[in-house]
């Protein structure tokens, strides 16, 4: 599993970072920052799916 963030759509709700803090963080203006750009460890998959399903801007895409 990998994640893609559409930075132009992100408006900094931070709901991804709340759902999956090991995978998503905040940049200097509070928009999302992907912390794991490569393969996401299996134990984090559930949280990543929750991050995707909590983003109000639908800015996160999961590639499996």
């Amino acid at each position: 599993m990998k994640v893609l963030l559409d930075y132009d759509s992100c408006h900094g709700h931070q709901m991804c970072a709340i759902a999956a803090p090991d995978v998503f963080g905040s940049d200097e203006i509070g928009n999302a920052k992907v912390l794991i750009t490569g393969e996401i460890p299996a134990e984090l998959h559930t949280k990543v799916r929750r991050a995707e399903s909590n983003c109000p801007e639908r800015a996160i895409t999961i590639i499996e």
Partner: protein
């Protein structure tokens, strides 16, 4: 304002967001509209407005900022005289800005509100919550709204701005005058002018005696394309900090206190499983989203079959969107570990609430501190709770015993 006195004949064509029943509990009205053949209602009251209630429609409108502009953002038309006087051009950027200015208006304040930046306010917020509780804990009764929730955001914002905490009562009065009062146009104008005049004084005092590090000083020293930002921008952001940062968060804290007072099972769940806090806060924000914003239609358009005209007001009922069963299972139920929660309590699109991370922090710390100190409490009389509504929904009197 006689619009508030006429009984509502048909909620789909004559809703009144300031009717006493609607202020107290708007959710049955939202549901009636949302589940009807006409989920975007219309009213002629208060110079007319549209009221979308489905999640999909509210989000679509929030995203279409060129059609649905932020020339005005309050649910009421501006009071006569608002556009007069030397500081009439002062808005509340970036919430009142449209592109292209919106971009720099927003970009300049975002770093201050990033999660890592607001974290510094957590210990101070906890201390002030504890100090408020110290005042009433021995009495066994308190007003969770006016003795507790009401004091928290105004003090955090004052500290952030670098202005004295002794301004608390004035700030609260001005913000309520601007947002909660629907009948007295003169008081709305006066409240706005008081805010602007106060901050003119703060700007002048910093110009005469520069301070090193407070928010107003930082704003004054900010440059865009080599030029200092205009004074209207500095005053506008200060205005925003008050009108968007105080009433809103205090209302959310108050609604959550009201909820917790009636739900011992949720208090127990949070006590036994503190890991629930992150999802619990988002769920409480979904269910008790306090804010409805407005947009002004730029040009005639048919939206979902509704003939909207240039200049029409559209009410962005985020609280209605957040309870749409098409988007949320069992939407009226508080489920503290809800997994799928794409809520829009903070809005959506380019005007998404800039202060959301600070609001979340205040809400969590206010609830945690209260529940640690006063784990068991209940409403004294549910019928005596009073509410504000329309622009910002939350309890104003909420007596509890413990």
């Amino acid at each position: 304002m006689t619009d508030t006195q006429k009984p509502v004949t048909d909620i789909l064509t004559d809703y009144d967001i300031f009717a006493p029943d609607f202020i107290k509990n708007p959710y049955p009205g939202y549901t009636e509209i949302r589940e009807s053949q006409c989920p975007i209602a219309h009213t002629e009251r208060y110079e007319g407005s549209w009221l979308p209630t489905r999640y999909e429609d509210v989000v679509a409108i929030a995203q279409e900022y060129e059609t649905f502009t932020s020339r005005q953002i309050l649910v009421m038309p501006p009071a006569a005289g608002r556009s007069e006087g030397p500081y009439a051009a002062v808005g509340a950027p970036p919430i009142t800005s449209d592109p292209p200015d919106h971009h720099w208006h927003r970009r300049l304040i975002l770093p201050v509100f990033a999660p890592q930046a607001v974290a510094q306010y957590e210990p101070g917020t906890r201390d002030l919550c504890n100090a408020l509780i110290d005042e009433f804990i021995d009495k066994g009764v308190a007003d969770a709204a006016s003795d507790y929730a009401q004091h928290i955001p105004v003090r955090v914002i004052s500290k952030m701005l670098g202005v004295p905490l002794t301004m608390e009562d004035e700030f609260t009065e001005w913000v309520r005058g601007a947002l909660e009062n629907i009948t007295d146009a003169e008081r709305r104008i006066k409240s706005f002018r008081s805010i602007v005049e106060y901050f003119i004084g703060e700007v002048q005092s910093r110009a005469a005696n520069p301070r090193e590090d407070d928010f107003i000083t930082q704003l004054m020293n900010t440059e865009v394309e080599g030029k200092k930002v205009p004074i209207e921008y500095v005053l506008g952001v200060c205005n925003l900090m008050l009108v968007a940062g105080i009433d809103t968060t205090w209302s959310a804290i108050g609604s959550c206190m009201w909820h917790m007072a009636q739900h011992p099972e949720h208090r127990k769940q949070l006590r036994e499983n503190p890991d629930l806090w992150p999802t619990a806060i988002e769920e409480l924000l979904r269910v008790y989203a306090p804010v409805t914003m407005a947009r002004i239609v730029d040009h005639d358009i048919e939206f979902q079959g509704c003939p909207m005209k240039a200049g029409d007001r559209v009410l962005m009922a985020f609280p209605a969107a957040n309870r749409d069963p098409r988007q949320f299972e069992n939407p009226d139920e508080v489920i503290l570990d809800r997994q799928n929660n794409r809520h829009v309590a903070f809005g959506s699109g380019i005007h998404r609430c800039a202060g959301s991370n600070l609001a979340r922090l205040e809400l969590r710390v206010a609830l945690q501190t209260w529940l640690e100190r006063i784990p068991e409490f209940e409403l004294i009389d549910p019928t005596s709770v009073t509410w504000a509504g329309g622009q910002v929904h939350g309890p104003r009197k909420c007596m509890v015993k413990f």
